[in-house]
Amino acid sequence: MTDISPFGIRRAAIIRATPERIWEEFTTHERMSAWYGTGHELTHYEPRVGGRVETTFGDVPNVARGRVLVYNPCRELTFEQRWIGPDWTGREWAAPAKVTILLTPVAGGTLVELFHHGYDLLGGDPAEYLSGFEGGWDTHHLDALAVLVAA
């Protein structure tokens, strides 16, 4: 199993289906992009270790690309996501970020965990990436806690 870097975000849901059923959604480009291609487009997806994964957005092609690192049916999918060219700060990434999806059978269904992680290896300030990818709003509580603890 992939080591989940603490510099990342996690989203989770319990889905009322078996891991086998859920994994079917990861088995082709068409099925994967039907759920994962939100906010951006999943332009390429090869469901095998070493397969290429590519997402794009915007009028000017903004591309993130990587390889599948783990393809462990019904359990784990991990692929790299490396920004191509300088990001919005003008920085070229030293290493790719990673997307890890874990499936764990639980009573009544499957725990689906989605991690976007490895911000400590990109080369910039991990805190900046963390707050950015969290979307800002749901870190407000932690920001408030940090202020209280520092007081």
Binding site: A12, I15, R21, W35, Y36, G39, H40, G132, G135
Partner: protein, 77 residues
Amino acid sequence: MTAGDLAAAFPTISRPAVSRHLRVLREAGLVVAIQAGREWRYTLDPAPLAEVTQQWFAKFAPLWEEALANLRRRAEA
């Protein structure tokens, strides 16, 4: 900072060029000009840049909650 201060910080750029740059930055909302006596003072406003950054993040990664909701809809159907 005044236009003079800024021009002094960029000795290889001509004074008129500095003024033109400032005008473009003001029009883009990245620099705010406040009149102080006979001079204009310029300050940086990073808010529009933060907006660009936020858009970048939102598009670069999928909307995670939405992606999970999509997966749920398909798998539970």
